[in-house]
Subunit: 249 residues, 2 copies
DNA sequence: TACAGTTATGGTTGCTGTGACCATAAGTGT
DNA sequence: ACACTTATGGTCACAGCAACCATAACTGTA
């Protein structure tokens, strides 16, 4: 390691091994629409990768934290107020060859929310649209840069966290029924879950959800109690997916 | 977001909202010594934070991936060949105020290994030394920059992953006894575990460990079978820590 | 009102995995 | 031969889970 204490400009004169880099945030934005997991993409309007779909994102400004940058891009490119969303740092991608323009370091952020509005095309993106997340993994989607790999890792991360954290509540609104929460797991796991067993497990996990006292009247059927997120983030016991996970039929 | 397609130097002339940043990697290196969790620190020999302990790390060079940079720093500052170690990206810290010299983006890497050698002081660090990780959390240690927060998060990450992943094997050698593996959990959880029950759980977790056929003769007692890491990274079922976790009175 | 349809909620049962504990195996040194 | 130590194996009671059954509470329709 070179001396950390040396002044930055002296250091740069002294060697060409280290150079400046540009810092961006890219967003993996997932939501549920029509019981399907969707990812927000933009169509690039400029080279490189002109015309190709990509993750929304952009440069981090001076005097801005990564989180603030992610929130700003979320607002600018998708018109979404991220302060209500689950926002989480995923990982950083900095391979020298990942951007043809030079060393561009991107920090990937995960943003999750309940059924989000249809995005309006931003100033930079030709258009913005929701794509089924399944297309990330079946190879029918080609993305700019290394965005395909980033989004695939993001998806795996969410899937893992569903079992051990309360991240599923991020896909529900402020209040939700257990049915809503169950749907999240069913979509991710691709199999129906037993309503009764699901209920027992969720309510036995301390701090996962809290009853609000409110009710929701479905178009048909018995009214369902409303819940909101509980104080716990790590689920104990976790909501493990087993081989069969109690599906019926 | 500003147009990604604009040439970088044009862009910089065009606005002062975005500037170059410097990219470093910092390493959270943990090991077990004398049944104690230790973290590798260096003593800074230069301003800022001259004389204060800090995480080892340094600038990422051009044409170097983050992982390669982490491996290089590991070798330069601690004399450790990281190719045998568990190396994992933790998170990226880029708050504008975190480094008094300007926007320095650091990517924190986690490095875990079995009883590692006593480090030799590198060229930049006044000296390098192992410190008990417990001191990170009881506040008796003050570190440069935001390194205290980074290391605390690293420790929590390892603790979480112990239950759901095979990360514990990273603290053992190439081959190890179940006793060795059990010690890892006992150190992290701070409580003794029942050898018999631990054995059953580990062997019932498919792909966690594999018998090598070899034996290890302890100074006293019955010989123990040797195992190596299995193919599984995610533990199924996980090795959950419960309220009592089978400790003996 | 009566009834079917639908969904939420609650309870029962057999099975599996766990913690506590006991027993045995296989080395060491005296 | 014996005590000592540690690894390994087994037993048993209990908790949690999947599967499934039963009931509650709403809708709409005749």
């Amino acid at each position: 390691m070179r001396p950390l204490g040396v002044r930055m400009d002296d250091w740069l004169k002294d060697s060409d091994e280290v150079g400046p880099s540009w810092l961006t945030v890219d967003l993996a934005i997932f939501t549920l629409r029509d019981d399907q997991l969707m990812v927000l993409l933009i169509e690039r309007g400029l080279d490189p990768f002109n015309g190709m779909p990509a993750m929304p994102g952009g440069y981090v400004q001076k005097n801005e934290t990564l989180r603030d940058g992610a929130l700003r891009e979320l607002a600018e490119e998708a018109g979404i107020d991220g302060s209500q969303l689950h926002l989480e740092q995923l990982g950083t991608y900095a391979d020298p060859g990942r951007d043809p323009r030079g060393r561009v370091v991107t920090v990937a952020y995960l943003a999750l929310g309940p059924d989000l509005p249809t995005p309006v095309g931003g100033t930079d993106a030709a258009r913005a649209f929701w794509a089924p997340a399944a297309r990330l993994e079946d190879g029918t989607l080609r993305l700019a840069f290394d965005h395909q790999a980033i989004l695939t890792e993001a998806l795996e991360e969410v899937r893992r966290k569903l079992e051990y954290t309360a991240v599923a509540t991020a896909f529900c609104g402020e209040t939700f029924t257990l049915r809503d929460l169950r749907t999240v797991y069913e979509v991710f796991w691709g199999q129906p879950l037993d309503p009764s067993n699901f209920r027992r497990k969720v309510l036995n996990t301390t701090g996962f959800v809290q009853p609000t006292g409110g009710q929701w009247l479905p178009p048909t059927g018995r009214p369902a109690a409303l819940y909101c997120r509980g104080p716990a983030w790590l689920l104990n016991p976790p909501l493990l997916r087993t081989a069969t996970s109690g599906q019926r039929g």
